[in-house]
Symmetry: C2
Subunit: 351 residues, 2 copies
Amino acid sequence: MRIVLDAMGSDTCPEPEVLAAVEAARLFGDEIILVGPVDQLEPRLQALGRENHMVRLVNAPDTITMKDKGLALALKAKRKGSKTSMAVGIDLVKEGQADAFVTAGNTGGALATAYYRLGTIPGVERPALTGLFPVRNGYCVVLDIGANPECKPEHLLQFAVMGSVYASKVRGVPQPRIGLVSNGEEAGKGNELVKSAYPLLEASGLNFIGNVEGKELFGGNADVAVTDGFTGNILLKSSEAVAKLITDILKEELLSSLRTKLGAALARPAFGRIKTMMDPAEVGAAPLLGIAGLVFVGHGRSDARALVSAIRTARQAVEVNLLTEIQTAIQERLAALTLTTDSDRNETDHD
Amino acid sequence: MRIVLDAMGSDTCPEPEVLAAVEAARLFGDEIILVGPVDQLEPRLQALGRENHMVRLVNAPDTITMKDKGLALALKAKRKGSKTSMAVGIDLVKEGQADAFVTAGNTGGALATAYYRLGTIPGVERPALTGLFPVRNGYCVVLDIGANPECKPEHLLQFAVMGSVYASKVRGVPQPRIGLVSNGEEAGKGNELVKSAYPLLEASGLNFIGNVEGKELFGGNADVAVTDGFTGNILLKSSEAVAKLITDILKEELLSSLRTKLGAALARPAFGRIKTMMDPAEVGAAPLLGIAGLVFVGHGRSDARALVSAIRTARQAVEVNLLTEIQTAIQERLAALTLTTDSDRNETDHD
């Protein structure tokens, strides 16, 4: 197995990437392809002073940064001769020289580069940014969290199929419970998009549990939550912001007096679970589901440990043949749905 | 000033309501009109064993419960002779016999009853459920949090005008900063609704600060955040759920060993601020802005203290003449906007 790691992704790149490449190669015993400006990477790799023959460097002098957007970004992503680390790395996947691409860089950049260079799986109209939300007793796969601010009902159905495959094959959930994010649990609640997507999900043959609100989602009642990229992004950012607000205030208050400082020191073991929940290294990386190639995006704040965890996630996806599984599921579900809809129509015709 | 209190609103009604009515009448020295089944209220009021001549009972034998929905609810809300405590109470406001209506009952029921019986302020097409979100260093007025799952750009503009008046007149914020909830801070980010609402808000003359994400909203950078009722509801429910998840886990972990229990006991003063932030009594009640009458909805979990706080909020709105202020602001802003748009159009014509 060969995983490509974007050397120029994380906020403090390329140090964490070089470390992670060496560590992952040692840990998994497979080749890691590190893509970026070789003149910067070579000395850093050598400075680690070990035998690093399992890390292969591929040169990519250009970089997509957090500042790139709009047309400039689209060009860097799309251009045939583009030499950004993302374009070069993703091309390696496209040419079959690598099995998956991992980056901690600009998410929009990764999405655009992957979309233009790899395209989507047949039957998938839109790729989805997929997040793993820490919830009670585990994680919930949430998609789309930002790729598509406007969605059609069929897109949500495709997201549900892909999320279900991801949860079962990569996360090991037997019969993933699929929830539709809405402003009320009852069927019939929702905006026009949700109301139109509901019957599609109901007829999909997936383990659809209906609408879910924050209570069900963060309470751990759904394994997959489906939503449009606008709502999903707001869900992601607001839940991160609320978690940060609460933990920040708590820290301030615990440091505000000698008594509370002492209490905090004693109670320290109790804070571990929250800290783990909010640690990007726990999740590693989120997949761009629907892209015709395995692409994973980690948090910009990733350190070497988080990047190794991201590579581990990518390896799992390769091992279970995620792409083929999604492709098969999409075809089966869509075929089943077409049949159901046709027979419904025939019954109606007979009336 | 006369405030109507729905006696059949809260989860444990009518006890908290009877207590709150007596307490508010004593505290504010004004008449409180308690509406509900008099046969249930009379003995409870007498049992309090005080001179309660400042609490007037008005009979309403029927109730809107949390179970009422759809057509049944619409009928209870709309019917001319409806004897629900909400219908009778809101009719008192309509007939000028009271200045504001306060309930801790079914929000959808209150909205429907208020909408059918009072209508909206001229120039306001849709009333908005308005929430006060606890954020860093205060509160953010968020609307709509659930009345209108589908909105037009003009609705968001009207929400912004109403939210701005509410923040300045009732919450005492001099030049309320208005944010538009979106999936990115930059102008141009958003779904179609947000992209169309942005220029309207920019031209409104309000203190519009652009798009806001969770970071800005919960970081306290906006005094008012405007959004459609679908997104706003998900924002509300998910932030509540995340806050609950974190505090629940923290409680469990703090109680998990003797050491952490001791630590928690010592650190106790540090938990007060979070507890206060999550206490519904702190906010009291949220207004239904845009309704042609003052209607406030408190949390179903309200106790007597929370209901007194809700009545206090309603009194503030009466004192500052909130309805007239909103009506004036809507007319001024819309007139200004029409002029701007007209002159824009003329300039375009000349080109």
